[in-house]
């Protein structure tokens, strides 16, 4: 007894040291999930998420490569070298707010239309240069031009819209928007290669099927990296989301079995594969189904729970795919008593929708009309942000805000306007701090003109037009989705939460508009020589005539009045009396 206690005493420092080390040196961990969310219009959101946590390279190990066991060096080394603290890359193609009863994709970090790369850089020295090297390095990795096309495409005043996840001082935010980018098959292979499971096992095996994945509707792909620092582990997360149609259309299902148009589906039906072998290194591998309290049934049954997701308390069913019994099995989903899917007459709208169109459309002018609809009984506060290329010149003095066809200028609390500096290529950014009244439709009108570009400044295929980045509505009054036990909320909110609906309790802080294609008035690209020649000719004619008038001698002649007017010979007979004497007097 004494001896053992003595041994304990002796070894205590060693134990302590070991246990301390295990605290600071976290194991790299990988977890994955697949979320299915049926939408009210007979479609379904499918979201793959892969998350890896990894340790800081400085403190964990002497072997510098060891922390890359689960993490891809091709992704992390450029970030580490350029001192990046956070980085998000996202590609999105399309989203329909009206049909899906949700203001955006299932993954809250997905950007608006097109591609986008944004992040926080540490230190303030040569940030621009480091940002360029990061974007260009990762552009190669994602088979897309992520770097800036022209100097001045970067915007730096979106730090408030995309706040840091980890508070680090002395950082700079960058946002580079590529509204013209598309998601394509080229993007899937590099995405899979970043994952530790490489598309061979686990959920990534379901994703590594380009033939199936790219037949889906609107898709979104992205990664988010938080680099490790002294206090916290690093984390990188990749996601892939798509929308699939559950109801077979008449054309595809041409076997004449029309009354079989129900939404029943299974894992095998969607992916043409059964549940794959789990990835051995993964800590968690979860299949999640979000239902809307309707008669949805599954087989086999999963673990049920309730959770706040995007403003609603929803039923969530989960299956642990690391369970050996599920491997090689199929999971089936159906709606009780649904023979044929009836398209709903009314789809409940999302709490807030934002759309942007161009009205008063002329070839050289127009007006952006941003319609923000608040469908709830609470007033919301938000920032609406726009990014324009330099040739879009907005008229700040003519901005108008309407609610129910009445001007309501007081709803615009603040406007931050950062104009571009033509003719240098730069961006204009705008942030409107707005109050959106309850149950109302707020219309924001921004008139703009398109500047005339030099013919060398037009991009190839100029007649097609140029895409404008999505507008971003950032909600300032959202609450955490985690259910808190504190009763500090006022009674009104509590009431809302009892009924399982509170539009503020959502992790979706940003709602995006569609991107816009703006055509630019073009010059005639075949004209440079002609214009130079013709304008120069007019100038030469003017100069020549002026020179003639200024330098020639002026005098007078007397034309005889008796001469016959019809004969041309008379001209010669005219008594031309040039008064030479007086002329020389004139111009001495």
């Amino acid at each position: 007894m004494l001896l053992s206690s003595l041994r304990l005493l002796l070894l205590a420092p060693i134990y302590a040291a070991v246990s301390k080390q295990t605290i600071t040196k976290h194991e790299d961990a990988f977890s994955e999930s697949l979320t299915l969310h049926p939408l009210p219009d007979g479609r379904m959101s499918v979201l793959f998420e892969f998350e890896t946590t990894f340790s800081s390279s400085g403190t964990s190990s002497r072997i510098s490569q060891s922390h890359h066991s689960l993490t891809p060096p091709s992704l992390l080394l450029p970030l580490e070298k350029n001192n990046v603290s956070e980085l998000t890359i996202s590609f999105t193609s399309g989203w329909d707010q009206a049909r899906s009863s949700s203001s955006g994709l299932l993954n809250y970090e997905s950007s608006g239309g097109g591609g986008e790369i944004r992040g926080w850089l540490k230190d303030s020295n040569d940030v621009e240069e480091r940002w360029n090297s990061v974007t260009n390095a990762l552009g190669g990795l994602f088979c897309a031009g992520l770097g800036q096309k022209d100097k001045g495409d970067n915007t730096r005043d979106f730090g408030g819209i995309y706040p840091q996840k980890r508070k680090i001082d002395n950082t700079t935010h960058f946002l580079l928007s590529h509204p013209e980018s598309q998601l394509c098959t080229e993007n899937l292979t590099p995405f899979l290669s970043l994952l530790p499971s490489k598309g061979i096992s686990g959920l990534s095996a379901l994703l590594s099927q380009p033939g199936i994945i790219f037949s889906w509707e609107s898709q979104s792909e992205g990664i988010e990296v938080l680099m490790p620092d002294r206090n916290a582990q690093g984390r990188w997360k990749g996601w892939w989301e798509g929308i699939i149609d559950l109801v077979p259309s008449n054309n595809v299902n041409g076997n004449g079995n029309d009354n079989q148009r129900n939404r029943n589906f299974s894992i095998e039906k969607i992916f043409r594969k059964k549940i794959p072998n789990p990835f051995p290194e993964s800590q968690r591998s979860i299949l999640r189904l979000i239902t809307e309290n309707d008669n949805m049934k599954t087989s086999p049954q999963g673990r049920k729970s309730q959770r706040w997701i995007d403003g609603k308390c929803r039923d969530v069913v989960e299956w642990d795919l690391k369970d050996k019994n599920l491997t090689g099995q199929n999971i089936e989903f159906w709606w009780n008593g649904e023979n044929s899917f009836q398209y709903p007459r009314h789809i409940p709208p999302p709490p807030i929708t934002v759309t942007r169109t161009v009205i008063d459309k002329l070839a050289s002018d127009g007006t952006f009309q941003i319609t923000i609809i608040n469908n709830d009984n609470i007033e919301r506060r938000a920032i609406y942000s726009e990014i324009w290329p330099w040739w879009v010149k907005g008229w700040m003095s003519e901005i108008e805000i309407f609610v129910e066809n009445k001007k309501r200028p007081e709803l615009l609390e603040d406007l931050s306007y950062n104009p571009s500096k033509p003719p240098t290529i730069s961006t204009t950014t705008l942030h409107f701090t707005l109050t959106i009244p309850a149950k109302s439709q707020l219309i924001l009108r921004i008139p703009f003109s398109k500047l005339t570009l030099k013919y060398t400044e037009h991009r190839p295929d100029a007649e097609r037009g140029i895409e404008i980045s999505s507008g971003i509505l950032t909600l300032l009054d959202t609450l955490s989705e985690q259910q808190t036990s504190s009763s500090s909320y006022d009674s009104n909110e509590q009431e809302g939460e009892i009924s399982g609906y509170n539009p503020r309790r959502t992790g979706r802080k940003r709602i995006y508009t569609n991107r816009l294609l703006l055509d630019i008035p073009t010059p005639d690209f075949s004209m440079p020589y002609n214009v130079i020649i013709m304008s120069s000719t007019v100038m030469a004619v003017f100069f020549g005539l002026m020179q003639g008038v200024l330098t020639r001698k002026w005098g007078w002649v007397e034309v005889s009045q008796k001469s016959d007017k019809t004969s041309s010979i008379v001209q010669k007979e005219q008594k031309q009396i040039v008064k030479n004497v007086s002329q020389s007097e004139l111009y001495e």
Binding site: M396, P423, P523, P528, M539, V541, K553, W554, E558, K579
Partner: protein
């Protein structure tokens, strides 16, 4: 004569000025929609003169930001300060009154110019000078569009009028303001200095060239200093810099915008130099050739830079036409006034038509509007040459008449007519005409 009596009544000039003011105010009040539509016309206002840009700049300035930081505002700080602190640009009524007042002041200044030129009183001519300016469609439209070119014109005409009268301080002051806001009036300094230093019957002591030039430079520097206080030095690149470097290529009636849209980048600087020097090179020869009549040299130069400056408006042509009204003897000696007028008529139809095809409906392309501006530019250029030729013809006629026709002219004394009209009549009867020889002057 009854007609003569009607003209001699002093009410007639007041009447036309009042009618011009009434017509403007009536249009401002009765057709605000028309005025708002005219504001956007590129023929009437360029980004450097449009009220829309001015409003935008004042809006940004009032919110505590420097409007010259972004590429949206090219107006002079003089206008920025005036429309921020003195007269609110957002007030439709006050600006309408200001623009009407500017046109009225211009017409009165034109009458003063005519009075100092003509050695005799002619109510009829005063009526015509004011009427031709006030009811010129270009003047009315520029005024209704509230293009700051109308204000520039008023200041410049004021400068010319005070110079013609012989007051050097107001003249240099107005010229300094005019050259601050649109830069090109700087070219008028030599002829106006010549005019000021010429012996005039009104101004008793003749001022020296040195004195006037120093005065102008001092006033110009003073205004620059005020601007500096207002918007440190950012305004230079955004006002004069834009006028010189033509960085904004918004279509206008001039010859520059499409030329520099289509220009190859490595020739841009060279051609900018050529186009700017082209305005400059005429100053010295014209001042030399018309050294006996600096006012006429001023008019020719106004015409040249009204056509060939980097951002011309139709209002510049209105200024030129108004000044020409003070030179009836030149007008009667023009070679092709009908041609000039009809081409103006034709371009004033073509310009809006082809502009709307390209930039409103988006069906045409840039060549459409370019063709119209080229016809306009060519016509204005030919008109300048014509006016200059007419001026030289008048010069020759006067000198020859003085030498050879003194008796003939004295025979006709007593007829109430101007001496130039008389000369024309005598020349007509004699069968004499002025010609330009192919031989060079030198």
């Amino acid at each position: 004569m009854d007609e003569g009596k009607a003209w001699t009544s002093s009410q007639s000039t007041h009447l036309v000025v009042a009618a011009g003011a009434a017509a403007r105010l009536a249009l401002f009040l009765a057709a605000p929609a028309l005025c708002h539509a005219l504001e956007r016309r590129p023929e009437l206002s360029t980004p450097l003169t449009s009220i829309r840009n001015l409003r935008e700049g004042v809006f940004i300035y009032e919110r505590g930001t420097n409007p010259y930081d972004g590429g949206v505002f090219y107006h002079s700080p003089v206008y920025l300060a005036f429309f921020t602190y003195i007269l609110p640009v957002s007030s439709y009524l006050l600006t309408a009154l200001l623009w009407t007042f500017a046109d009225i002041a211009s017409s009165i200044a034109l009458i003063r110019i005519w009075q100092t030129r003509a050695k005799f009183q002619s109510r009829k001519r005063e009526f015509l000078v004011a009427g031709l300016f006030l009811f010129n469609p270009y003047t009315i439209l520029s005024c209704l569009a509230r293009s700051t070119v109308s204000l520039d014109n008023a200041i410049l005409i004021g400068a010319i009028a005070t110079t013609a009268i012989g007051h050097s301080l107001p003249a240099t002051c107005l010229l300094a303001i005019a050259s601050h806001s649109s830069l090109y009036p700087l070219l008028l300094l030599p002829p106006l200095v010549m005019l000021l230093t010429k012996e005039s019957p009104i101004a008793q002591k003749s001022t020296s060239v040195f004195h006037v030039t120093i005065q102008y430079i001092a006033l110009h520097a003073a205004i620059s200093g005020l601007n500096w206080i207002l918007a440190d030095r950012s305004w230079i690149a955004q006002t004069w810099g834009v006028i010189i470097n033509v960085t904004d290529l918004t279509p206008n009636v001039g010859m520059w915008w499409y030329f520099f849209t289509e220009m190859f980048d490595h020739f841009r600087t060279f051609f900018l130099g050529v186009f700017q020097l082209h305005n400059l090179i005429y100053v010295v020869p014209i001042c030399l050739r018309f050294s006996d009549d600096p006012l006429f040299a001023t008019v020719i130069l106004v015409g040249i830079f009204g056509t060939w400056k980097s951002y011309p408006n139709l209002g510049d042509m209105a200024l030129w036409a108004g000044l020409l009204g003070c030179f009836p003897e030149v007008i009667s000696n023009l070679r092709h006034p009908l041609f000039t007028l009809t081409v103006h008529l034709y371009t004033s139809i073509l310009l809006p038509l082809l502009h709307s095809l390209w930039l409103l409906t988006g069906t045409g392309n840039a060549n459409f509007f370019y063709a119209a501006t080229m016809v306009y530019g060519l016509n204005a250029s030919l008109a300048i040459v014509d006016v200059m030729g007419a001026g030289l013809r008048v010069q020759v006629k006067r000198k020859a008449s003085e030498l050879l026709l003194r008796e003939d002219l004295e025979d006709h004394k007593g007829i109430q007519d101007s001496s130039d009209k008389l000369t024309d009549k005598v020349w007509e009867r004699k069968g004499w005409s002025v010609v330009q020889f192919t031989r060079s002057l030198m």
